[in-house]
């Protein structure tokens, strides 16, 4: 849609977080207000992903003025339409007046973050290919098809030092080289968008905000290895990403970037979207291929590697969303530019999602090699509520928990591995002093034992046994020999499993045992949970300051709280299930946990 036809453009944030805060209602109210004022043809409303102030709730930007409005409600939107759009007066009370939007997205201090992959997310309309093209979109593809041979493309990627962003960090160019060397007509390119790690959502954001960058990466990969068909395997938990990809594929076909004889260079390539069905293990490449083939997503032994015999037995390269999104920049700006970012063995930037007990959660993009401490304290603003840092968990359920003494460690593939963790796809969960590390290990084990596909016995049964032991420890029934048993089991699972899930599953246990052994011992020997988390080891008590408002009694699911109005209440320890709801609803801080 040519820009001059509209007087104003409104970018409305429509990502999962703003939707959670009612972005849909806002949009309905906005459209209704525009209709009521007859402005529908003059104002263009665009849904975009993340605009950068997600913590401040539904938000929108009005162009050409570039005014950001936050804390939106349906009433606020109506007011903004009446005042700003109709009368040209900015509504100050909803205006975001902090730092300029760009700086806000880069988060303070700006110097430590670097947005390359995320540069267009929230800036362009993901559902409009023309906006992507205006940002040099598909220029890298054109350059490859007209100026570079497939071999030169691979050499460029090799030279850039780009490593797979899916977790293992295998050099992307090497993978492409292997597949290109296979002499066969049918090859495949797969984009792994099955981002299953709890706490990780960077790939979702890229797909929702800049889907064409991923398609362009796939096209270039296809050209480099001689493939004509690509698949995007996206998880079913991401309905908005699925919708965006569908639109992007359709538009790329309309514009002739997908299909036959692309850019008149005789190159054919098309992409199909396949959707998962809720199986974490499908993020593993061989399991993912089985799933696309329409089978149970069970991994198989490697070799043969997918680059030799992959999807339907044909040479296949599987790259993560972020890996593919990097390709256009490497081609456009040159491998030397890319290699100038990061440290010796780890080039470029990496997106991470910060979750847990830090001041600023959300998405960040930093050059590889930045230290853990810089991310936690400089980029994320430190721990919430002035509490103490306890551990940072990297790499999702296959990663490990890293304690305070290693905060100086650079974030890269080698250094994280040396600490017993992994880079993974980029989830970072920061935990404060109120987190019980045994409980965290139990949480991840619960996840992996549930998601184990069941093919390898050590993973299927071993994770189950570890979980049982951890549950026992958390319940105060641990035995002294349990720690040794956990170590033994962990070793066997790592040694006897086929895929990354099994090989990494014990990592949370191994690292917490290594760095937080005293907590295990407190649970086992003293039957105490130092962080006051494990339900069976804590009791809730109502203090004498209780004013008797009855809120806790009403909310208690096990009806364990008795007491009359305006008199101190009492928790019956026999009925109490230590769920903590009473403490969370008490407005007088009259309930304590011991």
């Amino acid at each position: 849609m040519p820009t001059e036809f509209y007087r104003s453009h409104i970018l409305l944030c429509n990502d999962a977080e703003c939707l959670a805060k009612g972005a849909q209602e806002i949009e309905d109210a906005l459209v209704a207000a525009l209709d009521a004022n007859g402005l529908r043809d003059e104002v263009n409303v665009l849904e975009t992903s993340r605009l950068g102030h997600c913590a401040t709730g539904p938000e929108m930007v009005v162009y050409p003025e570039g005014i950001t409005y936050i804390h939106l409600t349906p009433d606020a939107v109506t007011e903004i339409v009446n005042e700003h759009l109709l009368k040209g007066r900015i509504v100050k009370k909803y205006q975001f007046t902090g730092e300029a939007r760009k700086d806000e997205e880069l988060r303070a201090p700006a110097a430590k973050e670097m947005r390359i992959i995320m540069a267009r997310c929230g800036v362009i309309d993901p559902d409009n290919i023309e906006e992507y093209i205006a940002e040099d979109g598909y220029a890298a593809l054109a350059k490859c098809l007209t100026e570079l041979t497939p071999r030169q493309v691979i050499d460029t990627v090799l030279k850039s030092g780009l490593r797979g962003r899916g977790g293992a960090g295998f050099p992307a160019g090497k993978k492409w080289e292997f597949a290109a060397d296979q002499k066969t007509d049918t090859k495949f390119v797969i984009c792994n968008a099955d981002e299953g790690d709890p706490g990780a959502f960077m790939n979702r954001r890229v797909l929702e905000g800049d889907p064409h960058a991923v398609l362009e990466g796939m096209l270039i990969a296809g050209y480099a290895i001689g493939a004509h068909q690509g698949y995007i395997y996206c998880r079913a938990e991401y309905p908005i990403a699925v919708r965006t990809i569908r639109i992007a594929i359709r538009q790329a076909r309309e514009f002739g970037f997908l299909g036959k004889n692309i850019l008149d260079r005789g190159f054919d390539f098309d992409v199909e979207l396949r959707i998962g069905a809720g199986a974490f293990v499908c993020g593993e490449e061989t399991a993912l291929m089985a799933s696309i083939e329409g089978k149970r997503g069970e991994p198989r032994p490697r070799p043969p590697f997918p680059a030799v015999a992959g999807l339907w037995g044909k040479p296949t390269i599987i790259n993560n969303v972020e890996t593919l999104a990097n390709i256009r920049n490497i081609i456009n700006r040159g491998p030397e530019w890319f290699a100038s970012i990061g440290n010796e063995k780890n080039k470029g930037t990496k997106t991470f999602t910060l979750a847990g007990d830090v001041v600023r959660t959300g998405l960040i993009e930093v050059p590889l090699g930045i230290t853990l401490g810089e991310v936690v304290f400089d980029v994320a603003g430190g721990i919430k509520h002035g509490k103490k840092f306890k551990a940072i968990q990297t790499g999702g359920p296959m990663g490990g928990c890293i304690p305070e003494q290693f905060l100086e460690t650079p974030i890269d593939y080698e250094n994280l591995a040396a600490l017993g963790s992994i880079m993974g796809s980029g989830g970072l969960v920061v935990m404060d002093e109120d987190t019980c590390m045994v409980d965290i290990a139990r949480f991840f084990m619960d996840f992996t034992q549930d998601e184990s596909c069941g093919k390898c016995v050590p993973c299927r049964i071993g994770t189950r046994r570890i979980l049982e032991i951890l549950e026992r420890i958390c319940a105060g029934e641990g035995e002294e020999s349990d720690i040794e048993r956990l170590e033994q089991l962990s070793k066997s699972i790592v040694a006897g499993s086929l895929c990354g899930l099994g090989q990494g599953a014990p990592n949370p246990v191994i690292t917490t045992l290594k760095y937080f052994r005293a907590e295990y011992e407190a649970h086992i020997k003293d039957k105490k949970c130092p962080a006051k988390v494990c339900k069976k080891l804590i009791t809730y008590r109502i203090l004498d300051t209780c004013p008797g408002c009855m809120v806790c009694a009403r909310n208690c699911p096990s009806k364990a709280i008795t007491g009359e109005r305006q008199k101190v209440h009492w928790i019956n320890p026999d009925l109490c299930e230590s769920c903590g709801i009473c403490m969370s609803v008490c407005k007088f801080d009259a309930i304590v946990v011991e």
Binding site: G294, K295, T361, E577
Partner: protein, 178 residues
């Protein structure tokens, strides 16, 4: 036994469709047939078909699996194997609204379990079950990627963030009427 003789073998009881099974209800059966026809020629069609049927019909019962296997000329065990492997497929009909509690790390740490307890108390059913009036099905789900909104709950396709046990009551009330 030859193929012809196999037809005389009685069908296992669990494969006998109930009266309200989608393959018996004409309108739903037509939808199932349309889905199969649209995808059966593609490579790896089983997953595509099951995904569509789960989305449109709401569940994949055993008789439905048998029907699909028949149409695709593949063994029933392949269909059953897929349905039981992936957590998105259900064999029982769900309630009108699916309330899914995100149990990703961030949500877990910020008290998703309290929300589950409260909801179980309100609706009187356990996690994984459907209320007798078929209004709600409550489930736990994997990370939905709304981590800075933790603890998050997904009702149908809508994400509700920063929940407290108190807020849960309001959220459920909103859907009860619809």
């Amino acid at each position: 036994m030859r193929a012809k003789d196999l037809r005389s073998v009685p069908m296992a009881p669990s494969l006998q469709p109930a009266e309200d099974d989608p393959i018996v209800v004409a309108e739903q059966r037509a939808r199932i047939d349309a889905i199969i026809a649209a995808h059966s020629k593609k490579q790896g069609s089983t997953m595509l078909i099951l995904n569509e049927i789960q989305a449109q019909i709401g569940h994949v019962s055993k008789p439905m699996q048998n029907y699909i296997a028949d149409k695709l000329h593949i063994p029933l065990k392949d269909v059953y194997g897929i349905v039981t492997f992936y957590s998105f497929f259900t064999m029982k009909p769900r309630g009108k609204h699916r309330v899914a509690f995100c149990l990703g790390t961030a949500c877990y740490v910020s008290g998703a379990e309290m929300l589950i307890e409260k909801t179980q108390q309100i609706l009187g059913v356990k996690l994984g079950d459907t209320t007798p009036d078929r209004k709600f099905t409550i489930e736990a789900c994997r990370c939905i990627g709304a981590c800075s909104q933790a603890p998050a709950v997904m009702v149908d396709d809508n994400v509700h963030g920063r929940n407290t046990p108190d807020k849960m009551v309001a959220v459920l009330r909103k859907y009860e009427k619809v």
